[in-house]
Amino acid sequence: MSEDDEDARLVAYIDGELDKDERAAVEERLTTDADLRARLMRLREGERPFVAAFEALLERAPVERLQASLAEHVARQERRRTSMRDSWTLRTGVLAAAAAIILFCAGIAIGRYGPGWLAGGPEGGDEDWRQSVVEYAAFYTPETFGSEPASKPKDLALVGAKLGLPLTPERIALANLEFKDAQILNFRGAPLGELDYLDPATGPVLFCIIRDSEPNAAMKTETRGEFAVASWARDGRGYIVIGKLPVKQIAELANSLEQRF
């Protein structure tokens, strides 16, 4: 047994992690092996009052602040769920039909403009997340964010952390749009950041970023159903800007963001 293995076994002996037979074997060797005894002694010298010392850190944890931000997150999710549920109840049948129509329109759009869209990703997987965003966006109304206070820079930073991008209010600001919320979603294991804005005239505008290592792609604009969509990919991240705005306007917003991402 190497010295390292021997030390590991002795530590397990000290920590009471050996079974009865292993323990007996170590003890028997200790009675005759002076070197082993010296090693045991030295490992024991590495003991410290760990529990007591680390108590100090628990006392210093900013529990109140963490609790407040947890409560805020839960409340925001709850508001979001309620607001989504309300729009579902209000428009039950209509919504299902709308979703079908959007899917149908998207299908037509893909069929018609397929090469342009699909050329963005050789694996063909990039299309999926963009399509999901389009479908997801269809459920948003101005009321989705109506009563909510805008996300704090901290939320933005957290979303940014998951995407590996530093996000600040300045970096994501868009002219004439009110920034409302930032959240992180998950698309087949890839973090998908969603930044929500409200355009007073046309309603929600979404800026989404996915970290899924897709190849670089130049800016493309497109209409899908009632949405105008602009997308590009750079440095392993895909970007999409979507809203019920004229294509030209979405392109302007996207161009302004592309300069910053």
């Binding site: 590991a8 530590v11 920590d15 850190l57 590996g164």
Partner: protein
């Protein structure tokens, strides 16, 4: 079952915040990163609440999530952004001479553990502070039990050295110069 798991996770987060933060601090060595790490852990735990296995210990599950966010997301970001690594031995000892005076032993232990490599630091925390068994720690660390053992052995040997315990195989030699003091000497102003 899923609803119960969700309930258990959302109810169980608040009582674990301080311990999660401590783990985050031991990993990251920086308090602001520890804050972010705990918040991200809570968000992720709520998102994945349905995956929590009822009847298992929630704190272990949360530790695993926290660790994976640290390794996969925040640590690499710190390195990419040029933040590099902070010396955890500094971050684990709090500023303000008050604490250090009143709790000099705790401060000393934190400083010593903070000086260990990240992998040893977190293993010491999980086993010796949090009281996880080797097997439980191995699960949180996604490592074999043997790795837990060798990290603890390495940590103990380093800590023993700080106490000035000589290598057991070396003859103890008398009459030589004592160890050079790094704290007593005159300071260059």
């Amino acid at each position: 079952m899923k609803a119960i798991a969700r309930k258990e996770v959302s109810a169980g987060l608040a009582p674990n915040l301080a311990r999660l933060w401590r783990y985050a601090l031991v990993l990251s060595g920086a308090r602001d990163v520890a804050d972010d790490l705990v918040q991200a852990t809570c968000v992720r735990a709520l998102e994945r609440a349905e995956q929590f296995q009822l009847g298992t210990q929630l704190d272990r599950w949360l530790f695993s999530i926290l660790r994976s966010i640290w390794l996969n997301e925040l640590r690499s970001r710190r390195v990419r952004m040029g933040g590099g690594f902070v010396d955890a031995s500094e971050a684990l000892v709090f500023d303000g001479s008050h604490e250090i005076e009143t709790n000099i032993f705790a401060a000393q232990v934190l400083k010593e553990v903070g000086g260990l490599p990240e992998a040893q630091r977190e293993t010491v925390l999980l086993v010796y502070v949090e009281g996880l068994s080797y097997r439980e720690a191995a699960e949180v660390l996604s490592a074999p039990v043997g790795t837990v053992m060798s990290r603890l052995a390495a940590a103990r040997l380093t800590l023993a050295k700080l106490r000035g315990t000589p290598e057991p195989k070396l003859e103890r030699r008398q009459g030589e110069d004592g160890p050079k003091s790094i704290t007593q000497g005159p300071k260059d102003e």
